[in-house]
Symmetry: C2
Subunit: 160 residues, 2 copies
Protein backbone atom coordinates (compact mmCIF):
# COMPACT_ATOMS: atom_id res chain seq x y z
CA UNK A 1 0.00 0.00 0.00
CA UNK A 2 1.41 3.39 -0.99
CA UNK A 3 1.87 6.19 1.54
CA UNK A 4 -0.82 8.28 -0.18
CA UNK A 5 -3.19 5.32 -0.13
CA UNK A 6 -2.49 4.57 3.53
CA UNK A 7 -3.50 8.13 4.34
CA UNK A 8 -6.54 7.83 2.11
CA UNK A 9 -7.74 4.66 3.83
CA UNK A 10 -8.14 6.62 7.05
CA UNK A 11 -10.40 9.13 5.27
CA UNK A 12 -14.13 8.89 5.91
CA UNK A 13 -14.72 8.96 2.14
CA UNK A 14 -12.80 5.71 1.60
CA UNK A 15 -14.89 2.55 1.56
CA UNK A 16 -13.58 -1.03 1.60
CA UNK A 17 -14.95 -3.55 -0.87
CA UNK A 18 -14.44 -7.20 0.04
CA UNK A 19 -15.37 -10.55 -1.48
CA UNK A 20 -14.20 -14.13 -1.07
CA UNK A 21 -14.48 -17.34 -3.05
CA UNK A 22 -14.05 -21.08 -2.66
CA UNK A 23 -13.63 -23.47 -5.56
CA UNK A 24 -16.36 -26.14 -5.72
CA UNK A 25 -15.02 -28.07 -8.75
CA UNK A 26 -16.38 -28.18 -12.32
CA UNK A 27 -15.82 -24.45 -12.91
CA UNK A 28 -18.05 -23.47 -9.99
CA UNK A 29 -17.05 -21.01 -7.28
CA UNK A 30 -19.00 -20.26 -4.09
CA UNK A 31 -18.75 -16.52 -3.44
CA UNK A 32 -19.30 -14.54 -0.25
CA UNK A 33 -19.86 -10.80 0.15
CA UNK A 34 -20.48 -9.87 3.80
CA UNK A 35 -23.46 -12.09 4.67
CA UNK A 36 -24.50 -12.64 1.04
CA UNK A 37 -23.83 -15.85 -0.87
CA UNK A 38 -23.76 -16.26 -4.61
CA UNK A 39 -21.83 -18.26 -7.16
CA UNK A 40 -20.39 -18.36 -10.64
CA UNK A 41 -20.30 -21.30 -13.02
CA UNK A 42 -19.67 -21.97 -16.73
CA UNK A 43 -21.71 -23.65 -19.45
CA UNK A 44 -21.17 -27.41 -20.02
CA UNK A 45 -19.16 -26.66 -23.20
CA UNK A 46 -16.45 -25.17 -20.94
CA UNK A 47 -16.72 -27.92 -18.31
CA UNK A 48 -19.25 -26.30 -15.98
CA UNK A 49 -22.77 -27.21 -14.94
CA UNK A 50 -24.50 -23.92 -15.85
CA UNK A 51 -25.82 -23.40 -12.31
CA UNK A 52 -25.07 -19.66 -12.19
CA UNK A 53 -23.88 -16.74 -14.31
CA UNK A 54 -20.30 -16.79 -15.56
CA UNK A 55 -17.86 -14.39 -13.90
CA UNK A 56 -17.91 -11.93 -16.80
CA UNK A 57 -21.70 -12.08 -16.92
CA UNK A 58 -21.57 -11.09 -13.25
CA UNK A 59 -19.36 -8.11 -14.12
CA UNK A 60 -21.94 -7.05 -16.73
CA UNK A 61 -24.78 -7.49 -14.23
CA UNK A 62 -22.85 -5.36 -11.72
CA UNK A 63 -22.43 -2.62 -14.31
CA UNK A 64 -26.20 -2.58 -14.92
CA UNK A 65 -26.78 -2.30 -11.17
CA UNK A 66 -24.11 0.36 -10.81
CA UNK A 67 -25.40 2.74 -13.46
CA UNK A 68 -28.93 2.37 -12.08
CA UNK A 69 -27.84 3.46 -8.58
CA UNK A 70 -25.96 6.42 -10.02
CA UNK A 71 -28.97 7.40 -12.15
CA UNK A 72 -31.20 7.34 -9.04
CA UNK A 73 -28.66 9.41 -7.10
CA UNK A 74 -28.17 12.04 -9.80
CA UNK A 75 -31.89 12.24 -10.61
CA UNK A 76 -32.57 13.01 -6.93
CA UNK A 77 -29.92 15.75 -6.99
CA UNK A 78 -31.45 17.30 -10.12
CA UNK A 79 -35.04 16.97 -8.92
CA UNK A 80 -35.96 14.61 -11.77
CA UNK A 81 -38.81 12.26 -10.84
CA UNK A 82 -37.96 8.86 -12.33
CA UNK A 83 -40.77 6.49 -13.19
CA UNK A 84 -38.60 3.62 -14.41
CA UNK A 85 -35.03 2.76 -15.35
CA UNK A 86 -34.25 -0.30 -17.45
CA UNK A 87 -30.79 -1.19 -18.69
CA UNK A 88 -29.26 -3.86 -20.88
CA UNK A 89 -25.68 -4.73 -21.67
CA UNK A 90 -24.29 -6.61 -24.65
CA UNK A 91 -20.54 -7.20 -24.66
CA UNK A 92 -18.20 -9.59 -26.43
CA UNK A 93 -15.20 -11.63 -25.35
CA UNK A 94 -12.62 -13.35 -27.54
CA UNK A 95 -12.34 -16.67 -25.70
CA UNK A 96 -8.85 -17.22 -27.14
CA UNK A 97 -7.65 -14.78 -24.46
CA UNK A 98 -9.02 -16.96 -21.66
CA UNK A 99 -7.93 -20.13 -23.47
CA UNK A 100 -4.42 -18.75 -23.95
CA UNK A 101 -4.50 -19.69 -27.66
CA UNK A 102 -3.93 -16.18 -29.07
CA UNK A 103 -2.35 -12.98 -27.80
CA UNK A 104 -5.63 -11.10 -27.43
CA UNK A 105 -7.18 -9.39 -24.42
CA UNK A 106 -9.13 -11.87 -22.31
CA UNK A 107 -11.73 -9.27 -21.30
CA UNK A 108 -14.32 -7.23 -23.19
CA UNK A 109 -13.74 -6.51 -26.90
CA UNK A 110 -16.57 -4.02 -26.75
CA UNK A 111 -19.39 -3.03 -24.42
CA UNK A 112 -22.78 -1.65 -25.51
CA UNK A 113 -25.14 -0.39 -22.85
CA UNK A 114 -28.73 0.71 -23.41
CA UNK A 115 -30.45 2.85 -20.78
CA UNK A 116 -34.22 3.38 -21.00
CA UNK A 117 -35.65 6.04 -18.71
CA UNK A 118 -39.23 7.10 -18.17
CA UNK A 119 -39.24 10.53 -16.52
CA UNK A 120 -40.40 14.09 -16.94
CA UNK A 121 -37.25 16.09 -17.60
CA UNK A 122 -36.21 18.96 -19.83
CA UNK A 123 -33.53 18.51 -22.47
CA UNK A 124 -31.06 20.32 -20.22
CA UNK A 125 -31.90 18.06 -17.29
CA UNK A 126 -31.49 14.97 -19.47
CA UNK A 127 -28.07 16.16 -20.61
CA UNK A 128 -27.00 17.07 -17.05
CA UNK A 129 -28.02 13.64 -15.82
CA UNK A 130 -26.29 11.82 -18.67
CA UNK A 131 -23.01 13.70 -18.23
CA UNK A 132 -22.93 13.28 -14.43
CA UNK A 133 -23.81 9.58 -14.56
CA UNK A 134 -21.15 8.82 -17.16
CA UNK A 135 -18.55 10.69 -15.10
CA UNK A 136 -19.48 9.21 -11.71
CA UNK A 137 -20.50 5.58 -12.32
CA UNK A 138 -17.77 3.33 -10.84
CA UNK A 139 -18.30 0.18 -12.94
CA UNK A 140 -18.78 2.12 -16.17
CA UNK A 141 -15.52 3.97 -15.63
CA UNK A 142 -13.71 0.75 -14.75
CA UNK A 143 -14.65 -0.68 -18.17
CA UNK A 144 -13.90 2.58 -19.99
CA UNK A 145 -10.55 3.06 -18.21
CA UNK A 146 -9.61 -0.48 -19.27
CA UNK A 147 -9.72 0.76 -22.86
CA UNK A 148 -12.88 -1.15 -23.81
CA UNK A 149 -14.82 0.57 -26.64
CA UNK A 150 -18.00 1.56 -24.83
CA UNK A 151 -21.26 2.88 -26.26
CA UNK A 152 -24.20 4.08 -24.21
CA UNK A 153 -27.57 4.55 -25.85
CA UNK A 154 -29.73 6.86 -23.68
CA UNK A 155 -33.43 6.44 -24.48
CA UNK A 156 -35.91 8.79 -22.80
CA UNK A 157 -39.66 8.54 -22.69
CA UNK A 158 -42.23 10.67 -20.87
CA UNK A 159 -44.63 9.09 -18.35
CA UNK A 160 -47.91 7.93 -19.92
CA UNK B 1 -19.72 -1.72 -34.11
CA UNK B 2 -16.39 -1.48 -35.96
CA UNK B 3 -15.75 -3.43 -39.16
CA UNK B 4 -13.06 -5.51 -37.43
CA UNK B 5 -15.42 -6.25 -34.58
CA UNK B 6 -18.28 -7.17 -36.90
CA UNK B 7 -15.99 -9.73 -38.53
CA UNK B 8 -14.85 -10.96 -35.13
CA UNK B 9 -18.41 -11.50 -33.93
CA UNK B 10 -18.88 -14.12 -36.62
CA UNK B 11 -15.84 -16.01 -35.30
CA UNK B 12 -16.50 -19.13 -33.25
CA UNK B 13 -14.12 -17.81 -30.58
CA UNK B 14 -16.27 -14.73 -29.89
CA UNK B 15 -18.77 -15.07 -27.06
CA UNK B 16 -21.56 -12.64 -26.20
CA UNK B 17 -22.04 -11.53 -22.61
CA UNK B 18 -25.45 -10.09 -21.76
CA UNK B 19 -27.15 -8.74 -18.65
CA UNK B 20 -30.18 -6.58 -17.94
CA UNK B 21 -31.46 -4.57 -15.00
CA UNK B 22 -34.63 -2.91 -13.75
CA UNK B 23 -34.69 -0.24 -11.05
CA UNK B 24 -36.76 -1.24 -7.99
CA UNK B 25 -36.35 2.02 -6.02
CA UNK B 26 -34.25 2.70 -2.90
CA UNK B 27 -30.94 1.92 -4.65
CA UNK B 28 -32.06 -1.61 -5.54
CA UNK B 29 -31.78 -3.11 -9.03
CA UNK B 30 -33.24 -6.44 -10.16
CA UNK B 31 -30.70 -8.07 -12.50
CA UNK B 32 -31.14 -10.79 -15.08
CA UNK B 33 -28.48 -12.93 -16.76
CA UNK B 34 -30.02 -15.53 -19.09
CA UNK B 35 -32.40 -17.36 -16.73
CA UNK B 36 -30.60 -16.24 -13.56
CA UNK B 37 -31.90 -13.53 -11.27
CA UNK B 38 -29.90 -11.53 -8.77
CA UNK B 39 -29.84 -8.00 -7.44
CA UNK B 40 -27.71 -5.19 -6.11
CA UNK B 41 -28.52 -2.79 -3.29
CA UNK B 42 -26.73 -0.28 -1.06
CA UNK B 43 -26.41 0.10 2.73
CA UNK B 44 -28.98 2.29 4.51
CA UNK B 45 -26.37 5.07 4.88
CA UNK B 46 -26.54 5.53 1.10
CA UNK B 47 -30.32 5.16 0.93
CA UNK B 48 -30.59 1.45 0.27
CA UNK B 49 -32.03 -1.46 2.24
CA UNK B 50 -28.93 -3.68 2.33
CA UNK B 51 -30.76 -6.61 0.69
CA UNK B 52 -27.89 -7.59 -1.62
CA UNK B 53 -24.24 -6.83 -2.43
CA UNK B 54 -23.41 -3.41 -3.83
CA UNK B 55 -22.50 -3.25 -7.54
CA UNK B 56 -18.77 -2.91 -6.87
CA UNK B 57 -18.91 -5.77 -4.36
CA UNK B 58 -20.43 -7.80 -7.20
CA UNK B 59 -17.49 -6.85 -9.44
CA UNK B 60 -15.10 -8.06 -6.72
CA UNK B 61 -17.08 -11.30 -6.31
CA UNK B 62 -16.91 -11.82 -10.09
CA UNK B 63 -13.14 -11.37 -10.02
CA UNK B 64 -12.83 -14.05 -7.33
CA UNK B 65 -14.96 -16.41 -9.44
CA UNK B 66 -13.03 -15.55 -12.58
CA UNK B 67 -9.55 -16.27 -11.26
CA UNK B 68 -10.80 -19.53 -9.75
CA UNK B 69 -12.09 -20.77 -13.12
CA UNK B 70 -8.83 -19.80 -14.80
CA UNK B 71 -6.82 -21.55 -12.07
CA UNK B 72 -8.85 -24.74 -12.59
CA UNK B 73 -8.37 -24.51 -16.37
CA UNK B 74 -4.62 -23.91 -16.24
CA UNK B 75 -4.06 -26.53 -13.52
CA UNK B 76 -5.77 -29.10 -15.75
CA UNK B 77 -3.51 -28.12 -18.67
CA UNK B 78 -0.39 -28.44 -16.50
CA UNK B 79 -1.47 -31.70 -14.86
CA UNK B 80 -1.58 -30.11 -11.40
CA UNK B 81 -4.07 -31.84 -9.07
CA UNK B 82 -5.78 -29.11 -7.06
CA UNK B 83 -7.18 -29.92 -3.66
CA UNK B 84 -8.61 -26.50 -2.88
CA UNK B 85 -8.61 -22.92 -4.12
CA UNK B 86 -9.68 -20.08 -1.84
CA UNK B 87 -9.52 -16.42 -2.79
CA UNK B 88 -10.20 -13.12 -1.11
CA UNK B 89 -10.31 -9.57 -2.43
CA UNK B 90 -9.89 -6.32 -0.55
CA UNK B 91 -10.24 -3.14 -2.58
CA UNK B 92 -10.96 0.50 -1.78
CA UNK B 93 -13.16 3.15 -3.37
CA UNK B 94 -13.09 6.89 -2.79
CA UNK B 95 -16.81 7.58 -2.53
CA UNK B 96 -16.26 11.22 -3.54
CA UNK B 97 -15.98 9.91 -7.12
CA UNK B 98 -19.46 8.37 -6.99
CA UNK B 99 -20.79 11.37 -5.03
CA UNK B 100 -19.33 13.79 -7.56
CA UNK B 101 -17.75 15.86 -4.76
CA UNK B 102 -14.13 15.57 -5.90
CA UNK B 103 -12.36 14.91 -9.18
CA UNK B 104 -11.20 11.41 -8.26
CA UNK B 105 -11.76 8.08 -10.00
CA UNK B 106 -15.07 6.55 -8.92
CA UNK B 107 -13.74 3.00 -9.17
CA UNK B 108 -11.03 1.04 -7.35
CA UNK B 109 -8.15 2.98 -5.74
CA UNK B 110 -6.36 -0.32 -5.26
CA UNK B 111 -7.10 -4.03 -5.42
CA UNK B 112 -5.44 -6.73 -3.29
CA UNK B 113 -6.16 -10.35 -4.09
CA UNK B 114 -5.04 -13.34 -2.03
CA UNK B 115 -5.03 -16.79 -3.60
CA UNK B 116 -4.59 -19.85 -1.37
CA UNK B 117 -3.97 -23.12 -3.19
CA UNK B 118 -3.56 -26.60 -1.80
CA UNK B 119 -1.93 -28.78 -4.45
CA UNK B 120 1.09 -30.94 -5.16
CA UNK B 121 3.15 -28.96 -7.65
CA UNK B 122 6.83 -28.27 -8.29
CA UNK B 123 8.18 -24.74 -8.08
CA UNK B 124 8.27 -24.60 -11.87
CA UNK B 125 4.64 -25.72 -12.10
CA UNK B 126 3.59 -23.11 -9.53
CA UNK B 127 5.34 -20.38 -11.51
CA UNK B 128 3.85 -21.58 -14.82
CA UNK B 129 0.37 -21.59 -13.33
CA UNK B 130 0.77 -18.14 -11.78
CA UNK B 131 2.05 -16.55 -14.98
CA UNK B 132 -0.63 -18.11 -17.19
CA UNK B 133 -3.47 -17.26 -14.82
CA UNK B 134 -2.38 -13.64 -14.47
CA UNK B 135 -2.13 -13.32 -18.27
CA UNK B 136 -5.42 -15.07 -19.10
CA UNK B 137 -7.92 -14.11 -16.36
CA UNK B 138 -10.53 -11.77 -17.91
CA UNK B 139 -11.71 -9.91 -14.79
CA UNK B 140 -8.18 -9.54 -13.38
CA UNK B 141 -6.99 -7.99 -16.63
CA UNK B 142 -10.01 -5.69 -16.76
CA UNK B 143 -9.03 -4.23 -13.38
CA UNK B 144 -5.33 -4.10 -14.27
CA UNK B 145 -5.97 -2.51 -17.68
CA UNK B 146 -8.06 0.15 -15.92
CA UNK B 147 -4.86 1.27 -14.20
CA UNK B 148 -5.85 0.01 -10.75
CA UNK B 149 -2.79 -0.85 -8.59
CA UNK B 150 -3.22 -4.60 -8.21
CA UNK B 151 -1.38 -6.99 -5.92
CA UNK B 152 -1.78 -10.75 -5.95
CA UNK B 153 -0.48 -12.82 -3.05
CA UNK B 154 -0.09 -16.45 -4.15
CA UNK B 155 0.00 -18.82 -1.16
CA UNK B 156 0.70 -22.50 -1.79
CA UNK B 157 0.36 -25.40 0.60
CA UNK B 158 0.82 -29.12 0.05
CA UNK B 159 -2.03 -31.57 0.73
CA UNK B 160 -2.05 -32.94 4.27
Amino acid sequence: MSHALRDAVTSPTIKSVRAAGSWKGSMTTALRVRGFELSTDEPPAVGGTDSAPTPMELVAAALNGCITVVIETVATELGIALESVDTSSVAHLDTRGFRGTADVSPHFLDYALTVQLVASATDDERESLRAAVERRCPALNLVRDAGVPLTIDWQWAVPA
